[in-house]
């Protein structure tokens, strides 16, 4: 390590710091200023708003609705992506599947690589009430009564949207779990086998504890992702419809900023998103440190 006093290191770091300062930190701070203003892009005018935007934030019933949808997103994603993702990974690491598991892995991972725009447009075909794959399949197998206007009904829209995210992302969690499982020492499994432990017991007594750090990481990632969901409701239900039944907090921010032309309020909503995700990220960073420590 060089310890000479020199400006060289600063020069190396400068472009990076500059980029982050201008395009990441400055906008974040500006949000605070904007949140105290009424800003209209349309007229180009802005005025001081005091705490009005914050008052709206806490009284706006749609904010609550959106947050509930985000929570639904988080809970369902935890079950499917983290829960089923782990089970899937454990199964694919089974000995008798060793030869074919690479094929399965690739298949489950492909949706992860496909752009969410493509996937949402594809699923708007799947969900089409009259000609969609899903309803046609249900009719073909005689479950006509199950066929629904999935994206158009207030009761199913949010779940139909969430389902698309599960379809896309389960492979991602699975892959992370596979990487973690592969790091588990083989002799642990050998020993358990000699003790005569069953598959399920091995899963709960060895696999699960050994990957608990990855479970934690995956859970946090999934929850954070759930609070930032934008693309799926934006495309599939045209911005959270019908009404606001499938709206998420990020879509609400977009609507206020770019449809209703109240940028100040949109900035206030971004601060709410920031608060939620920053807490989650902080938990992750802190626990990573302690995790590495022990």
């Amino acid at each position: 390590m060089r310890t000479r006093r020199t400006i060289a290191p600063y020069l190396f770091v400068l472009p990076c710091v500059l980029m982050l300062a201008v395009f990441v930190y400055m906008p974040l701070i500006q949000n605070f200023f904007y949140s105290f203003q009424n800003i209209s892009l349309l007229s180009g005018k802005s005025s001081f708003a005091g705490f009005d935007n914050y008052k709206t934030l806490f009284s706006d019933p749609v904010v609550g609705k959106a947050l509930i949808n985000n929570v639904k997103y988080a809970v369902i994603s935890l079950i499917f992506q983290v829960g089923f993702g782990l089970v899937l990974a454990a199964i694919l690491e089974e000995e008798f599947l060793r030869k074919v598991s690479a094929v399965f892995r690739t298949i489950f991972f492909i949706p992860v690589i496909i752009s969410i725009t493509v996937i949402c447009l594809l699923f708007s075909f799947v969900y089409n009430p009259t000609d969609g794959l899903l309803n046609m399949f249900l009719q073909a197998v005689g479950l006509d009564s199950w066929a629904k206007p999935w994206l158009g009904s207030g009761t199913t829209a949010i779940y139909a949207v969430i389902a698309v995210s599960q379809w896309q992302s389960i492979g991602y969690c699975m892959m992370l779990f596979i990487v973690a499982i592969q790091k588990i020492p083989r002799d642990l499994y050998e020993a358990a086998k000699i003790d005569g432990a069953g598959k399920i017991k091995i899963f709960f007594s060895i696999t699960l504890p050994q990957v608990k750090e990855m479970i934690f990481v995956n859970s946090l990632l999934t929850i954070t992702g759930a609070f930032m969901v934008f693309n799926e409701p934006f495309i599939l239900t045209k911005g959270g419809g019908p009404g606001t039944s499938s709206i998420t907090i990020a879509v609400l921010m977009y609507q206020n900023g770019f449809v209703r032309d109240s940028m100040g309020y949109a900035a206030t909503i971004s601060l709410l998103i920031f608060a939620i995700t920053a807490v989650l990220a902080l938990i992750q960073t802190l626990s990573f440190r302690t995790g590495k420590g022990d």
């Binding site: 710091v17 906008p27 493509v118 934008f230 920031f274």
Partner: protein, 275 residues
């Protein structure tokens, strides 16, 4: 024992195969329908095309996807170049020098990871307008670079830290300058992590949606994710062509994945960063 095992296997395999069908069928349908005419897409949903309309792909490409595709290539490649250069410089500065504010600066850089791009949407939008680069390639490239830097620095820095001091020292003895050492020793030695960075960045830049619909107004600069939305509106009911467009849009990353699976998985698990 064997009988018991095969029942177990059956119980395991059955849901697994159902899962495969759930994942594969929609994709298969997308590809096969992309060769169909409008009537056939809805008329014979479950069949293969009676006549394979490769013309759908030609139409999709010429009616807009080709343009969006090239824009995506330009934006993605520029973003990759920017991220790799700026992040590796920064990582080098942070890992090979001990200087007064190195810890603070490292934290500053890392902090960027805690911020999701959408939080900055409104101010960024105004910033880009003030800089007069709204609705140009730079409106996407610069924010994309900025938001990928933190993770890239983190990855590259820890790799640099793993490069033995002796190598660097011998380079200095041979008369290499600091910058030379970075350029001709550190960069080539870190190819694996650079590859990982490239893949993570291209994954992000190719698929990013929110910025691309807001920061770009004109079709000329629109990248694939935003372009597809416009493409869909413009086509009205030409579903075969739309589906062909969807397939074309997905190909580059699928190909990248097939050839670089190792780096992909490495990158995803190192970065643990979801799009």
């Amino acid at each position: 024992m064997a009988g018991k095992l095969s029942i177990y296997r059956l119980i395991v395999l059955l849901p697994l195969l159902v899962g495969v069908v759930l994942v594969v069928y929609p994709l298969f349908w997308m590809v096969s329908s992309s060769f169909k005419s409008y009537d056939e897409i809805f008329g014979s949903v479950w069949n293969l095309p009676s006549e394979w309309l490769f013309s759908n792909y030609v139409t999709a490409w010429t009616k807009g996807i080709g343009n969006y595709f090239m824009n995506s290539v330009i934006v993605t490649v520029s973003t990759i170049a920017g991220v790799v250069i700026i992040a590796s410089l920064c990582a080098y500065g942070l890992s090979r020098f001990r200087f007064r504010y190195s810890k603070t600066l490292f934290l500053f850089v890392l902090g960027g990871m805690m911020l999701d791009p959408q939080v900055c949407l409104v101010p960024l939008y105004k910033l880009l307008q003030n800089l007069n680069i709204h609705n140009t390639y730079f409106a996407l490239i610069l924010p994309y670079i900025a938001f990928r830097l933190s993770i890239a620095v983190l990855l590259i820095r820890s790799y640099f830290l793993g490069i033995p001091k002796e190598i660097e020292e011998s380079a200095t003895m041979d008369g290499c300058s600091v910058f030379r050492t970075y350029l001709s020793i550190f960069l080539p030695m870190s190819l694996p992590i650079i590859m990982t960075t490239i893949i993570l960045t291209s994954y992000y830049a190719w698929n990013e949606f929110l910025f691309s619909i807001i920061f770009i107004d004109s079709d000329k600069y629109r990248t694939i994710p935003a372009g597809l939305m416009n493409f869909k509106d413009a086509l009205s009911t030409d579903w075969g062509v739309l589906l062909a467009g969807l397939v074309i849009s997905s190909m580059p990353l699928i190909i990248l994945f097939i050839f670089m699976q190792k780096y992909f998985i490495q990158g995803m698990s190192d970065g643990s960063v979801k799009g």
